[in-house]
């Protein structure tokens, strides 16, 4: 579904990702793990079109999307939940969700999806009139994911959804990720520093170091890989 071929990108003089090639098939959960500063977020931002791609190709269902405007990428079914959630603090919970459906014209479908995210996270319905900035970290993560779902994406890019959350909430978020994948067939590209959890839910994974992919394999293979164990699993 999504294929990166020798993608390079960066900021000013810094090349944050150097030569990234990876493939994500429809219906998969694929994780990208790596230390802080490895280039994970840059990879996602390049896919979403917010960081310009300086070389290589990004293909979505065979169509080149590098250089496309960010709104066209969302239109093609790719939504991102960025690191740090980026809830609009002065918009209400409901308005944040409305913005997730910004590009949609099918009112009935939007209404159904709103009901769907409210069943996934009932707390959001209770808080729908509150400002986004008034939510707790966990609630903000739920809202951020729900807002992305309101676009009805075929593929979801998640940047460190577990960051800063209590263990119980992390468990809940990962359960939802698996459920979306299983029940809705949403393809998921999951960026995590929490390698242990990520490798458990992911079908396959890539390990990023200094802007380059150094290992790839199934979740199980990577969890058993010595290098991965010592660097990312603390064994």
């Amino acid at each position: 579904m999504l294929r990166l071929e020798h993608v390079r990108a960066g900021y000013g003089n810094i090349l944050a990702i150097k030569d990234i090639s990876l493939v994500i098939s429809e219906g998969e959960i694929v994780t990208l793990i790596g230390a802080n500063g490895a280039g994970k977020s840059t990879t996602l931002m390049t896919i979403s079109g917010l960081v310009p791609c300086r070389g290589g190709k990004i293909l979505l269902n065979g169509r080149e999307i590098q250089g496309e405007a960010p709104d066209n990428i969302v239109r093609l079914g790719l939504s991102q939940v960025p690191e740090g959630r980026h809830i609009f603090p002065l918009l209400t919970v409901k308005e944040n969700l409305d913005m997730g459906a910004f590009l949609r014209r099918d009112k009935d479908g939007v209404k159904r999806d709103l009901e769907f995210v409210y069943t996934l996270f009932p707390i959001l319905e209770k808080r729908q009139r509150q400002h986004g900035g008034a939510l707790s970290g966990g609630e903000q993560q739920m809202l951020a994911m729900s807002r992305a779902l309101m676009a009805r994406p075929k593929m979801l890019l998640l940047d460190e959804p577990s960051m800063g959350l209590a263990p119980l909430l992390i468990k809940q978020i990962f359960a939802i990720i698996e459920r979306l994948n299983r029940e809705r067939g949403t393809t998921i590209f999951l960026v995590e520093q929490n390698a242990r959890k990520a490798l458990r839910v992911a079908h396959r994974g890539y390990v990023l170091e200094n802007g380059e992919i150094i290992v790839t394999g199934t979740g199980r293979e990577l969890a058993a890989n010595e290098k991965v164990q010592s660097a990312y699993l603390g064994m």
């Binding site: 979403s48 079109g49 917010l50 405007a69 960010p70 709104d71 990428i73 969302v74 239109r75 939504s79 991102q80 960025p82 980026h86 609009f88 603090p89 002065l90 918009l91 308005e95 409305d98 913005m99 997730g100 910004f102 590009l103 807002r147 992305a148 676009a151």
Partner: protein, 300 residues
């Protein structure tokens, strides 16, 4: 007592105009963090457009109501086209550049537009047709409130309520607020941020043009330079209320108008502009972010 009421009405009328123009400053600042110094000139261009259309229609003998509506619409549309174009050619190419660059570009645009109208029209004041008739029902109160005061206040009220509803309830209004709060996130949701910015300039410019028509008809003459002082005062109003805040712009405008009205009415009209700026300085000393502004750390 009657003098007091007269000063109140005069102050509110002035304030309403400041508020109409201040909205453009504050909306643009809220969304791209730029002080659009050319905004006063957009107001002036609105007044000139209204002048040209109104004069022509009056000569051809159109009824007053038609003249007012057509001139108002033409001024709003034409000024909006200027506002849109200014953003496209003078600010958009500088997005991402250091903050000072678009600011300098804005000052350049302001000078350019002033001189362009100076050359295209004239340096002299031109008489603006009286577009607002006297209302019979106001006759007994004519020493307190004039017909044009009433029309200015009513028009401003309608415009403000409409704008508030647009920003609060429509999709584009929500997208404007979202973009102002976090433009990168807005992009990630598929909001075309450039289009939102264009729409902001268009709305702000149309409001300024309506202000231009109202003032011109109230005062009875215009020239290429009227945007300068009106722009500075309206900018002061926006800062006073808290730049970036829409209710703040209205509050700041009204406060400024009333201060000027009472200052000139009870003290001396020689110091008209001094009152406005003294108020600004005083408020900024005690509330640096303005009355309704968010206290944010300036990122320079």
């Amino acid at each position: 007592m009657e003098y007091f009421l007269e000063l109140i009405c005069g102050g509110l009328t002035r304030g309403a105009i400041y508020a109409l123009i201040a909205l453009g400053y504050t909306m643009v600042y809220g969304i791209i963090g730029l002080i659009n110094f050319a905004h006063g000139e957009i107001y002036m261009i609105g007044a000139f457009t209204a002048f040209i259309i109104a004069t022509a229609l009056t000569i051809y003998g159109f009824p007053l109501a038609a003249v007012v509506i057509v001139a108002g619409l033409a001024a709003a549309v034409w000024a909006a086209a200027y506002g849109y174009t200014v953003e496209r050619i003078a600010y958009r190419p500088l997005r991402g550049a250091p903050r000072l660059s678009p600011l300098i570009s804005a000052i350049g645009m302001s000078f350019f537009l002033q001189n362009y109208v100076l050359l295209a029209q004239t340096a002299d004041f031109v008489p603006f047709p009286a577009l607002i008739p006297d209302f019979d029902f106001l006759e007994p109160y004519s020493h307190i409130i004039g017909a044009s005061d009433l029309v200015i206040l009513a028009t401003t009220a309608v415009v403000m309520v409409t704008l508030t509803c647009v920003i609060r309830y429509t999709t584009i209004g929500k997208a404007m607020r979202a973009t102002a709060q976090d433009s990168a996130m807005a992009l990630l949701l598929g909001i075309n941020v450039n289009r939102v910015i264009s729409i902001t300039f268009i709305i702000g410019s149309a409001l300024a043009a309506i202000g231009g028509l109202l003032v011109a008809s109230h005062i009875g003459q215009i020239n290429f330079y009227i945007g300068f002082l009106a722009g500075i005062k309206a900018f002061a109003a926006a800062v006073l209320g808290g730049i970036g805040s829409i209710p703040g712009a209205v509050l700041g405008g009204m406060l400024l108008g009333l201060t000027e009205s009472f200052g000139t009415g009870y003290i001396s009209s020689d110091y008209e502009d001094v009152f406005a700026f003294s108020l600004l300085v005083l408020i900024l000393i005690f509330k640096p972010a303005g009355l309704l502004g968010k206290a944010t750390v300036e990122k320079v």
